[in-house]
């Protein structure tokens, strides 16, 4: 599935987040959809980074499906997690 150079996985063409399959450091570059993307935050292994701008209230898409909504604007290359995403189904 992954070559040794792969650092992020985009699971579905519709997705606006990708999964880091190794820990990424701020300032690194990764390749997504054939384009270079600058990593803004440190992204731990298994965590997500935005591969497009996601506005407040917009859906976060992974596996081609809705996994929650952004609670603040998320820039491309930023860490996407509980600090800026809320579940649409079981919010706190």
């Amino acid at each position: 599935m992954a070559s040794t150079l792969t650092r992020v996985l985009l699971l579905n063409e519709r997705d606006n987040v990708a999964v880091a399959i190794r820990a990424l450091r701020s300032g690194e570059e990764v390749e997504v959809r054939g384009r270079r993307l600058a990593v803004v935050d440190d992204i731990p292994f298994g965590h997500k980074l935005a591969v497009a701008e996601i506005g407040t209230g917009e859906g976060v898409i992974k596996y081609g499906e809705l996994i929650g909504r952004a609670t603040s604007p998320i820039g491309s290359g930023r860490h996407v997690h509980v600090h800026n995403v809320v579940s649409g189904r079981l919010p706190g």
Partner: protein, 388 residues
């Protein structure tokens, strides 16, 4: 592939193990159950905390769990330890569900010590009888596979779960049964499952069960963010319940959904079944085993050593780091997919092959360690139930 073998049971089901189980019907019988089985090879016991206090609104659910567990086809026979000899309802239900059941009442033996003294010779006799039964050629349709994920991380939905989904599809295609459960961990994926329902009625039930659990949680009016996803899930990169669910549902592969089962309810037909259980790893496993699962596959991202007293549980790591770190606790490494060593397809075939080997008698890591976690699953908060 070699011929699958197992133990035929009188009701037509098949066991892949031949345990003699000692199961308490009351919390006060747990110690007697444990002591009775201690040191006897082939005897298994579990303990629990249920007291069956009058008016328990979960009485029926719990009785059905205990009866189904006792009647699991991996048991050659089961000794139930109750308090009074008149309390026969669970034993009768276990017999109706195909179990070979002996009931011993503590009140006939003045307490724990006398009960243990009475049960041990009975166990020795049953174990001797069990040792005379031989494995026989078994059809794949005799397998009922419980699917589980626990201690999930963001890789669960990318490596181990979809690979297990491939294995589940192979089993279903060969005439076997798979059980997908963990209802709260299907919230956000129910539309995908309902779309695969074999009949409109099954599709309706899928939506009903999953959204029903969701409203039950909402009705609690509490913040569930620390529980779903769990702290470990969040540390592993899972952000919301939808994200966890979409990954969890991949264990069920792409097969049509053949039926929807209540907690601990046995499937009526082969194929992929959805069982309504909590996400709690142990409650879920007990529910599936009580429903007749004679084999289980359990994917884990953070690593967890749990097993079942009577059903072999194959542990599959989602990433290589945790597989190496907890190697003695985990059987297979689906992290090989990310490492470029396996494809989803080849990993799925490998899991399927290993499951058949385990069914044929190979011990899993949790069986070797003797893991036998057990839990009673409730639907009603005891406080609400008992405060009147």
């Amino acid at each position: 592939m070699e011929q699958l073998t197992g133990y035929p049971r009188p009701d037509g089901r098949w066991g892949v193990r031949n345990h003699v189980l000692v199961l308490p019907l009351h919390s006060a019988a747990s110690l007697a159950a444990e002591r009775s089985a201690e040191g006897l090879a082939g005897a298994a016991s579990v303990g629990h905390q249920w007291e069956g206090i009058e008016g328990d609104p979960d009485q029926e659910r719990i009785a059905s769990t205990l009866a189904g567990f006792a009647a699991n086809p991996n048991c050659f026979a089961t000794v139930l330890i109750g308090i009074r000899r008149e309390d026969t309802a669970i034993a009768k239900a276990a017999v109706r569900r195909g179990g070979r059941i002996h009931l011993v009442a503590m009140a006939d033996h003045r307490g724990t010590a006398g009960t243990v003294a009475a049960v041990r010779p009975l166990l020795e006799r049953l174990l001797a009888e069990a040792s005379l039964t031989q494995r026989r050629p078994m059809p794949i349709s005799g397998l009922v596979l419980g699917l589980e994920c626990g201690g999930s991380d963001a890789l669960s939905g990318i490596t181990a779960n979809p690979a297990l989904g491939v294995a589940s599809d192979l089993l279903v295609a060969a005439g076997g049964t798979s059980i997908l459960a963990e209802t709260p961990e299907l919230i956000g994926a129910e539309h995908l499952l309902a779309a695969r329902a074999a009949t409109p009625e099954v599709g309706r039930r899928v939506l009903e069960v999953i959204t029903g659990f969701e409203s039950a949680i909402r009705d609690l009016g509490v913040d569930v963010r620390g529980a779903q996803p769990t702290p470990g899930n969040q540390a592993g990169g899972l952000t919301t319940i939808e994200e966890k669910s979409l990954g969890a549902a991949k264990k069920g592969g792409d097969a049509p959904v053949a039926g929807v089962l209540g907690f601990a309810q046995p499937p009526e037909r082969p194929g992929l079944q959805i069982m309504d259980t909590p996400g709690h790893d142990i409650e879920q496993m007990v529910g599936m085993v009580a429903g007749g699962a004679n084999l289980a596959a359990f994917t884990t991202g953070r690593g967890t050593p749990t097993g079942s007293a009577i059903t072999p549980v194959l542990k599959i790591a989602t990433n290589t780091a945790i597989y190496r770190r907890l190697e003695g606790d985990i059987d297979l490494n689906a992290g090989a997919i990310l490492d470029g060593e396996e494809s989803l397809e080849s990993m799925g075939r490998l899991i399927y092959r290993r499951l058949l080997e385990v069914a044929a008698g190979e011990l899993t890591s949790s069986e070797r360690r003797g893991n036998r976690e057990f839990a009673i699953s409730r639907t009603v908060s005891p406080m609400t139930a008992f405060s009147g």
